[in-house]
């Protein structure tokens, strides 16, 4: 071989090795989370198949044939799930794991959590719960289910009006507004024991409880001062503080993830989103650009970056704005958004025929997935975080 060709040969060979190494390490290829990921599922049937298909679809993935997929999910189910995730074109799977114990749905959810963590990089949500309000006829009750609507239990039987379930962080219970004793009281409901106690029973309305993420305080709307305003107390009811003095009314409190601030709706003439420190001080408007009309029902994402809310009067839309204010995006028709622990998925309700149903929204792809419905019209979903 001529000497002068050796440097060229060396360069070409180094280049070839680099490319083949890069292809083997396909986890290094990162695509933006806004795109819908085609993915195939093979080797599963029944509930394992349907859980995998639902969960991945909820995170903005499209179930396709293997030749169109970017990722391939495969495995077996023989009492336990053995699952593999591969990138298209790769000789070896990224990983292979086994999921044993519990029901087949739980195994499949755990597998799906690992797949989503690999592809989206988000924290797991497929073994979490939601609470919501369900209406049949003229009475409403509170129900709790898995995030996908399965294993739903109606936890109240008061045949009266209830509204606005709010989880106690950790999931041991709920606070909600009940009319069972003639007026609006906030009840605290222990889910394990079924025991309830009146959390707030002041003269006037006691509405819209929101427990702080650190579990220490509760924000609520009380009308005891003569106008419905934002108040905060400790979880044991002490240290009650009157935070806003809006002459018309305030509504819809939601906490920042550091439990220091509250975003809420203030109506003084028109309704707008505002923020106030949970420790007192002046409230200030949240600047929202590009979405018009009444902005209500805010929910602050667990990572602190976004506030989801409902826009509109009658025709409602789910919108998202930066938590510090700025350009908002109107995403899908619906109302009452609540973020999942992953700060990416939102549960909300939307009109379907003559009732409302619960759905999941994958914010970056705007993909909507209806969850399993119980009978009745469902609204005000709250995600246990």
């Amino acid at each position: 071989m001529k000497m002068k060709y050796i440097p060229l040969l060396a360069t070409v060979l180094v280049g070839a090795c680099y490319v083949s190494i890069a292809q083997d390490n396909v986890i290094e290829i990162r695509k933006p989370t806004t795109h819908i990921v085609p993915i195939s599922i093979a080797g599963f049937e029944g509930e394992a198949q349907s859980v995998l298909a639902f969960d991945l679809s909820a995170l903005g993935m499209e179930i396709t044939a293997p030749d169109k997929a970017e990722y391939l999910v495969s495995g077996t189910q023989n009492g336990r799930i053995e699952g593999r995730l591969s990138a298209a074109g790769a000789a070896q799977p990224l990983w292979a794991r086994a999921y044993a114990g519990g029901a087949i749905r739980a195994q499949a959810h755990a597998f799906a959590n690992d797949i989503v963590k690999e592809i989206r990089g988000t924290v797991p949500i497929f073994e979490t719960r939601i609470a919501f309000r369900v209406q049949e006829g003229s009475s409403t009750e509170i129900a709790v289910s898995e995030f996908d609507g399965y294993n739903a239990t109606v936890v109240t039987h008061d045949s009266t009006l209830v509204e606005g379930p709010s989880w106690i962080p950790g999931g041991r219970g709920l606070l909600y507004t009940s009319w069972k004793n003639g007026g609006e009281q906030i009840l605290e409901h222990n889910l394990a024991s079924g025991q309830r106690r009146a959390f707030a029973d002041f003269p006037g309305a006691n509405l819209s409880p929101a427990v702080s993420p650190d579990g220490q305080r509760v924000a609520m709307i009380l009308s005891r001062s003569g106008s419905p305003n934002l108040w905060v107390s400790k979880m044991n009811g002490s240290d009650l503080e009157h935070l806003t003095h809006t002459r018309d009314e305030d509504s819809c409190p939601t906490w920042s993830p550091d439990s220091q601030e509250i975003c809420f709706v203030c109506r003084s003439g028109r309704a707008e989103l505002q923020k106030v420190s949970a420790n007192g001080g002046p409230a200030r408007a949240l600047r929202v650009v590009g979405v018009y009309g009444n902005l209500t029902s805010p929910d602050w994402s667990p990572d602190g970056k976004w506030i989801a809310f409902t826009s509109g009067s009658g025709h409602f839309s789910i919108c998202v704005a930066p938590a510090e204010g700025g350009d908002a995006q109107q995403l899908v028709a619906g109302e009452d958004p609540c973020w999942a622990p992953n700060s990416r998925t939102i549960v909300f309700c939307r009109q379907a025929g003559n009732k409302r149903i619960l759905s999941l929204l994958d914010v970056p792809t705007k993909h909507v997935k209806d969850i399993r419905q119980i009978s009745g019209s469902c609204s005000e979903p709250s995600w246990a975080r």
């Binding site: 000497m3 050796i6 933006p32 006037g204 309305a205 002459r247 028109r270 029902s297 990572d303 995006q329």
Partner: protein, 201 residues
């Protein structure tokens, strides 16, 4: 021959270096990206709302001081054991404009009627005011607005000399519509305060 060996050695060194460099890459943290799409107002949006052809301007905020809630000596009247009469003031249901808790001039005579009743009536009677909304707000928003409508009637009655301790407010948000139909002809019947006369048994 020695030059070739040096080149091959350099080549092997380069390859080793390339392999170690690719192995050192680490994942950047994932962040949720909101799609960069143009926003257009959806149906029903646009400020201000003019659904019913009445006021097109933003409602003026309410003036005057709020009146704290307490029933004092009338508390036992509202513990569920008294008589509730929906018909006595059934014709005095007070109606509101969209998104407003302001008592309109057209509704004032109804409240004057009720104030006259309590002025003339020396018995131990009270009033429950139930505030309601049409369906065009989210539920928590409507609960607060319904309560504000009940309080607005209470304030008006108090300013006419009715002891506010005789009055209890309840909100039903949009959960107790008078008319479940669609459109303004139904919605305007739902934006209301209803008045229940409470008398001891």
């Amino acid at each position: 021959m020695k030059n070739a060996q040096n080149l091959i050695g350099t080549f092997l060194l380069s390859m080793a270096l390339a392999m170690s460099l690719t192995g050192c890459k680490h994942r950047p943290p994932m962040t949720t990206t909101i799609p960069d799409t143009a926003t257009r107002p959806g149906p029903g949006n646009g400020a201000p709302t003019t659904d019913n052809g009445t006021a097109t301007t933003t409602p003026a905020p309410v003036t005057g001081e709020p009146i704290p809630l307490s029933n004092g000596e009338y508390t036992s009247l509202f513990n569920g054991s008294a008589n509730e009469d929906r018909t006595r003031f059934g014709a005095d249901t007070v109606y509101f404009d969209f998104d407003s808790a302001t008592i309109k001039p057209s509704e004032e005579p109804k409240l004057q009627d009720m104030a006259n009743y309590f002025k003339d009536n020396k018995k131990f009677e009270g009033l429950v005011i139930e505030g309601n909304c049409d369906q065009r707000g989210t539920e928590k928003y409507n609960l607060s607005l319904g309560e504000r409508r009940a309080l607005a009637a209470r304030e008006y009655l108090a300013n006419l000399g009715v002891d506010p301790k005789r009055i209890k407010t309840v909100t039903y948000g949009s959960s107790r519509p008078a008319d479940t139909g669609q459109g303004e002809s139904a919605w305007k019947k739902n934006r209301r305060d209803e008045f229940i006369l409470v008398t001891p048994k």
